[in-house]
């Protein structure tokens, strides 16, 4: 039987505020345990929450960024359950009236077509602390530094049908929140955590199957693997005559294994009700106008501009607009070099390859956008060939010069464009390959085009790549025909 998967995501995004959502304690990552957990974060008796204005602003910006309705009156509820990392015994969250209503995020599929993933809503809430499971005399340790960190939880409709789409969506969302500057996007630190809801059904069936929720995936790679694994598990299960049970699952990226979370299976009754310590949040039009004015160019708009103004193709524009740092790097390179297409090729080609190989973020690239732009300029003015340019790039990457010009100068890579020098070299090459020259001249005209490649190769080799390939070609032809 043919199966199809239905996937929806819930994403917790830590907002990049300086302080907690309801207290003035710092949210900086990596502090010693409980040194950033004040009386409010610890839920001591008698303490009260006061809402952080910046958390509200950031949530609104997210809403504006995904073309969503902003609920001008929104409110907080308490979600009640006992857990050691939840100091008050309830999480302050939004249920009935979330700050961000329905919106959408558009993703590009492999075949180049695009798909709109609907966002059901996004709400503000507080993060929990952390339980550390190392052994402390047979006990667990609780660190509440993270407790109270502002989150927006984004809930999608079940609009994705495979792991690739889910990952494309996740990446796009990452790009949106980092572009907006509302999240640092550091997934390894838990700044964005994905819960995936997966179900399967026979192709063509309209009724949804039973779904499972796999929690807290914090890398795109793990997410893709976890989804594929879960789809496979569910199909196998059903095909073997079993049924999928609704449950929460935990995926371990290190072992590539998933298991059911037994502790969460117990039917929870969260007893949501309006938080009496907080009043309704009313968003004035003046605030909306102000935040609209502060909105950066969003990835989709950027992509459209790259196509329209810089003449990039759909694919290149999509890739280069996806990540804000990459986009900025590309734009700077394009500006310095004055050639957007070459800049795009280099950023997506040589640069991207080196970054990946060395696992370096583009923001830490040893070759800056100005250096790369300068390098492209030298290709354009024929100082070096594209091939030599790769050598120059490598030298720049390894810190062998402050810019392309210095490397070219130091290594003597300047292209040979002196006709006399090139003619002399060609004469030498032809003399050394007399047999091939005879063959060439004996061959029918239509075959000669291919055969000339051999001589060009020999010449470039003889010049150590520095001869201008166009000139070599031209002179060779003349001499061979002659």
């Amino acid at each position: 039987m043919a199966w199809e998967a239905v996937i929806g995501l819930e994403i917790h995004v830590q907002l990049a505020t300086k302080t907690k959502i309801f207290s003035g304690a710092s949210t900086a990552f990596g502090a010693a345990p409980n040194t950033q957990a004040c009386a409010v974060d610890l839920g001591l008796p008698g303490v009260l929450p006061v809402l952080n204005a910046e958390a509200v602003n950031m949530a609104i910006k997210f809403g504006l960024g995904i073309d969503a309705e902003i609920n001008k009156i929104n409110a907080f509820e308490r979600k009640n359950y006992f857990y050691p990392d939840l100091p008050k015994g309830y999480q302050t969250t939004q249920l009935e009236r979330p700050i961000v209503g329905a919106g959408h995020v558009d993703i590009m599929l492999d075949d180049g077509s695009s798909k709109s993933v609907r966002i059901h809503h996004a709400h503000l809430e507080e993060d929990a602390g952390k339980s550390l499971h190392e052994d402390f005399q047979g006990m667990s340790g609780i660190d509440l530094n993270r407790a109270g960190t502002p989150l927006i939880e984004i809930v999608t409709e079940p609009d994705m049908s495979n792991a690739k789409e889910a990952v494309a969506f996740a990446k796009k969302l990452h790009s949106i929140v980092t572009t907006l500057g509302i999240c640092d996007g550091e997934m390894s630190q838990g700044s964005m955590r994905f819960d995936v809801n997966v179900s399967v059904r026979p192709k063509g069936e309209s009724k949804l199957g039973t779904r499972t929720e796999t929690k807290n995936l914090n890398s795109f790679r793990f997410m893709e693997r976890a989804i594929n694994k879960e789809i496979e598990r569910q199909i196998d299960l059903i095909e073997d005559g079993g049924t999928v049970i609704q449950e929460t699952r935990l995926y371990n990226g290190d072992t590539d294994e998933a298991r059911s979370m037994r502790s969460k299976e117990e039917a929870n009754d969260y007893r949501y009700f309006p938080c009496p310590d907080l009043l309704p949040v009313v968003i004035e039009d003046s605030l909306l106008d102000k935040l609209r004015g502060e909105m950066p160019e969003m990835p989709d708009a950027k992509k459209a501009r790259f196509i329209r103004d810089l003449g990039l193709g759909e694919y290149d524009a999509e890739i280069l607009s996806g990540d804000q740092t990459t986009a900025a790097y590309f734009e700077a390179t394009a500006k310095t070099s004055g050639d957007a297409k070459l800049a795009a090729n280099w950023v997506m080609g040589e640069l991207s390859k080196s970054l990946n190989q060395n696992e370096i973020a583009i923001s830490n690239s040893p070759v800056t956008a100005e250096m790369l732009g300068g390098l492209i300029l030298r290709i354009k003015d024929n100082t070096i060939s594209g091939k030599i340019a790769k050598q120059v790039f490598e030298a720049l990457w390894n810190g062998e010069g402050k810019d392309a010009d210095e490397v070219i100068e130091k290594k003597g890579l300047k292209q040979v464009t002196d006709t006399g020098a090139i003619e002399t070299m060609i004469d030498e090459v032809l003399a050394a390959n007399a047999q091939q020259v005879d063959n060439y001249r004996a061959a029918p005209v239509e075959k000669r085009g291919k055969m000339i490649g051999f001589f060009v190769g020999q010449c470039m080799k003889a010049s150590k790549g520095k001869a201008n390939p166009g000139m070599v070609n031209q002179i060779l032809k003349k001499k061979l025909e002659g």
Binding site: T17, K18, P33, V40, F136, M139, L279
Partner: protein, 95 residues
């Protein structure tokens, strides 16, 4: 809506209270009495009335995003039941 013993046990578990076996009957009875009084509410039709969560018609005030709290761990943990290396200790958390 009379509450029965099983429901009392379920609610006690939700609230993380343990009711002594010998007390369950009594607790159930006293809750039944209270819920009986509460059921007087059902005498009135409240359809269409907006629930009122706060007595005053005020809106949430917002706080500037500025760090005002410094590390007070030592003071805040001074009377904590069990701590080690700055962590609060609890019996093993199993996920």
């Amino acid at each position: 809506m009379a509450i029965d013993r099983k429901e009392v046990e379920a609610v006690a578990h939700l609230a993380r209270l343990s009711i002594d076996e010998t007390q369950i009957e009594r607790t159930t009875e006293s809750l039944q009495g209270i819920l009986g009084m509460i059921d007087q509410m059902q005498a009135i039709d409240t359809k269409g009335i907006e629930p009122m969560a706060h007595p005053l018609d005020a809106v949430q005030r917002l706080r500037a995003d500025e760090v005002t709290e410094t590390d007070q761990r030592e003071k805040l943990q001074q009377h904590a039941p069990a701590t080690e290396e700055g962590l609060f200790l609890v019996p093993k958390v199993i996920e």
